[in-house]
Symmetry: D2
């Protein structure tokens, strides 16, 4: 299968199918409804299931159910919808079930707007739900990368038996780009017979699997939390992904930016380069685990005077950038939130003002 021109939301839907996920439960909300529109037709063609829940609360628990039975399953939603799934996500993480959540972020808080935003960074990376859990959070910067991250998300979720979140934004969802679905990212669902509640098929297993998040005994709960913590520590070691840009130059300043926002930053960096101003960039591809060390290392380069966290949110990732830089360079936030993406010119002006 060669390159096809597809809308981001449709490519996300197709990528899940390519990844062997035949269960999609969702509730429509702008700007991700096209995923549902695409899959309501496509799932039956491939023998898959599309179920619209009666609410996002329900969808969250439908995901839990399918996942707990050992099925590959995913949903897509947008900001308020993800909030409604918060309790279920916490349950799924606690019960150590793999599942994939795609958040095509819109402007918030509240109803907010329907244009692109990155304002759910905290919710995605620090946990919207209660309790000690983490999501593995992937942030694509193009439709192609969204496709690849969706395809990677399922085996990653299974590797860690943990929910994985793809945090996109309305722009990724709405724009059309040529994409391909890499063969090498196709994967087999891992063997789930040792934990999934898949019907006690005695041909498959002779033990009774129990999927649950209730641990009334404090020691058992502590133990479950330690198991989770060990997984998150392992993620920090094995799953950090980022892209460095123009870091071979003697950059005066370092940008940290992700997703759609990073593409605008790249344009700004290119234009500044022509003017003789060198700017480096680290683009986190995983928001959790966060590339703390890569950023720290890049920040302390001698030529580098300042670090900027450029976000389509009012200062969220900047806290993780501060934790990365650890005071060795001044860290500043620049951004906008509401749907108007900062332009290259606005970024250039901001950077020049900080020279």
């Amino acid at each position: 299968m060669g390159k096809v021109l597809m809308k981001g939301n449709e490519a996300i839907g197709e990528a899940a199918i390519m990844a062997g996920c035949l269960n999609y439960f969702a509730y429509p909300i702008t700007p991700q409804s096209e995923v549902a529109e695409y899959l309501v037709k496509r799932m039956p063609e491939v023998g898959g299931v599309f179920l619209q829940g009666e609410s996002e609360v329900a969808v969250g628990y439908m995901i839990y159910g399918a996942s707990g039975c050992g099925e590959r399953v995913f949903t897509t939603s947008s900001s308020p919808g993800i909030s409604l799934m918060s309790e279920a996500i916490s349950y799924i993480a606690a019960a150590q079930c793999p599942a994939v959540f795609v958040n095509i972020v819109r402007g918030g808080p509240g109803l907010g707007g329907i244009l692109p935003s990155q304002a759910d960074y905290f919710q995605a990376t620090k946990g919207g739900g209660h309790g000690d859990y983490r999501l593995l959070v992937l942030a694509p910067a193009s439709v192609q990368e969204a496709v690849e991250m969706v395809m990677m998300a399922f085996p990653l979720a299974e590797k860690y038996r943990n929910p994985v979140m793809i945090m996109g934004d309305g722009l990724i969802g709405q724009m059309m780009e040529p994409v391909e679905f890499p063969e090498h990212l196709k994967s087999e669902a891992s063997n789930k017979d040792d934990w999934a509640s898949n019907g006690m098929d005695t041909r498959k297993s002779d033990t009774r699997n129990l999927v649950k998040s209730l641990f009334l005994d404090p020691e058992a709960l502590n133990q479950n939390n330690l198991t989770l913590k060990a997984k998150y520590d392992r993620m920090k070691e094995e799953e950090v992904r980022y892209e460095a840009y123009n870091v071979d130059s003697d950059y005066q300043m370092l940008i940290v930016s992700y997703g759609t926002m990073s593409r605008v930053c790249r344009t700004a960096i290119d234009q500044l380069k022509e003017e003789g101003i060198e700017i480096g960039m680290i683009r986190p591809q995983t928001l959790f685990p966060f590339p703390l060390e890569a950023i720290r290392e890049a920040a302390v380069k001698e030529s580098c005077k300042r670090v900027f966290s450029i976000e389509m949110s009012m200062g969220q990732m900047v806290e993780d950038v501060e934790r990365s830089v650890l005071g060795k360079r001044p860290v500043e936030w620049f951004g906008k939130c509401g749907g108007d993406i900062p332009t290259p010119e606005e970024i250039i002006n901001f950077i020049k003002s900080r020279v």
Copy 2:
């Protein structure tokens, strides 16, 4: 009214009434159900309203409704229940309505357990819901402090037109202590006629107030977010509260700890002092805004070699402690999560192991 011996959950209920809040909407969940049990009897006696919603999702929106009409209103819940309110909390913050949420945290994630925990630190301080918003988060360490914080919470919520969260834990809720309800913390509800949707009483106002969180125009949404950001920045300047303990000594190490956990730490510090080991402590009373500077200042004292974030969670506040200390001292997490509160001995052993 002098001192009375009261259970924490009951004292919280009474404190809200003392603060002039006559609207309480809730859904029962261990370990906060006693607040509802207390108020279902008490509210009618004072002419107030207790409504049990059909779910926590509903309660969240009932709070939004009452608050948007200019009424003092509060709820109490515990971890999973707060997750279900996440969307509503985001709406309330977006619409700039004052309201008070009490979270008597239990062990999580998922159903978890029903014993004390602090595992909702991230959810409370970074936002469980979607979008750029913050809660003002107060963390009491005793029943008396819970009473005072509840009484302060209402005028604070009105000062900022923002939800305030009291983050307690099951121990605070269940234990009995003598309390008093300070006269000076009683307050009048502030005038809400300039923004609340209170029926267009022409004797009160001649403009039509619209309470909403939908801003389809990106510039309007950006503007709303800037207004919110300005409020949160103002909170950082005006509302940081913390308690310092044993910081006049030449402490070798600094503990950061809050709530019930900090009381155990205090016992450990006292015992270590007798052994000649000096340990300082900063106890954040506000978790947002976080006492970044107080901690940084205390951490860099020459005698101080290390900083510990001691939590009943698996490493959450430690991220804010790292942002405080900024690499000037090693920061380490110590904690437990599941219901068994670390004992003074466990803390002493840990500290000695780090000398």
Copy 3:
């Protein structure tokens, strides 16, 4: 209190208050929403409670709850809303709790229309819900009669410990007429301490009352049903109400008609009398118990050749008229359903066509 000009829906609300009912739970639906609009303001003035449920299903069970606690309680709704309460009504009847339901019938089935109709006759009289139960069904033909029936409904419900339904129609609800609230219809709630689950106040009762509809033992269930049957038989003996019109004449035909429809029939009868055609009418005021004998007796008068069931439904009451007349005279249905009430002329034409 003398006569006041009131809209039917408002008069119904006030009548309930006059009857000493201070609990009103409802969900808005045209054409009864004015009852809710009236009572949302009026209930607080008299110290009563108005609660809007989250759905009619919920309202039904809120009624059950309050009633089971021994409170006078009522609701108003319209056709689809009553369908949603069907299960709860069956529970309330099974548990022998008094409660008053007002159905301002609109055209059905399905969403139908919002204009007057009598199409819920079967649902009201044969039981919309499952199982062997009956409602005592009152059908007013004027706003004044609606007021009186609402005031009577509460003591009747308590006399039989059974739900009472007032079956009105959109016209009764919407039209304005001068009404008075008869002093003699005011009533005290009967003593419920011997059956209501009202908190085991030991000053009131020393036995534990259990309100329930579950009887797993078949003999206990049969016994409960026999008790219910005995009550319904007693209603048939003691509660049959009807109005006879022009039955002293040597009428050639007999009309059976109720509610708003009967007023049109009366006009037609008056006009036909002027033309020398005598028509009698029996107007059931109770639809259950149905005035079987009064109709039979009136039908067999020698001058009477035919009996008509004239309804704003497609032939429902006609079945009960057939059961009354028992083949001694031909029984025919005439009616219309959809909102257009048959006019006097249409009735006159129909009658003339049957001479």
Copy 4:
């Protein structure tokens, strides 16, 4: 396919599949849960869909949705569950959609019990929901007949574009009998392109079908009701089914009885015959339309002195029997309700007492 020994509930499930119905939506409730248990496994094997709704209210509307799209669809439930579907059933009838509802009746009202009953006769035949509509109601007396009625129900529902209800009881559902699935009852779904909202496939139709129950214009609503009435009148002419037993004898009394109850009556009749007492029986197989004329005719046989309506309910069908006999013979009810089915001896004793 020859005879197979099957439990009634399972046979009902298999019969629907044999009838070509591949959509089954349901919510579990005793005593019909085995249908769901059977179909949750069986539907996937035949490429069908089993969906458990979140409540019976939801199931009712899922049925409406599938039916409105032109799919063969059915559900099974028991008494309280059917009450919760009342509103949806009214909508489906109003919108003239075919669908099959199976009610495995349990004792009521309210929660009642879980043993066999016929107490939903009124609900099924007079309409549980609001408005002028009727269900075609079939009442099987054996597992084999249940199979056949389920298989007939789908083409009947399509012939009339109206919901069909199978009214069974717990005994039919629970007992095992050898059954076969007659080839001649297999049917093709009728062409629904002229009315179903099936996606405007221009290969299938070039008009836009609208499935709805809202008719705000009173004349349109009246017209819809007249269309419905015409269908119900046609049912009365074409669909009346009943079985006569021992009517060639000079029976002294006539029993009217249906379903499981009629089998006990048959045993009683056989035993009485041995004693020289002749009793006839008419067993309605359709409860709506009701075999009024067959009963009337059988009742007026010269030898016949009395007519009995023998029911597992407290006197429901007896009203229709009265409408049949029209006073030409005394009509009496005999029955029991709660789960204990009257024994042959009890029936014999009752009959002897009435000689």
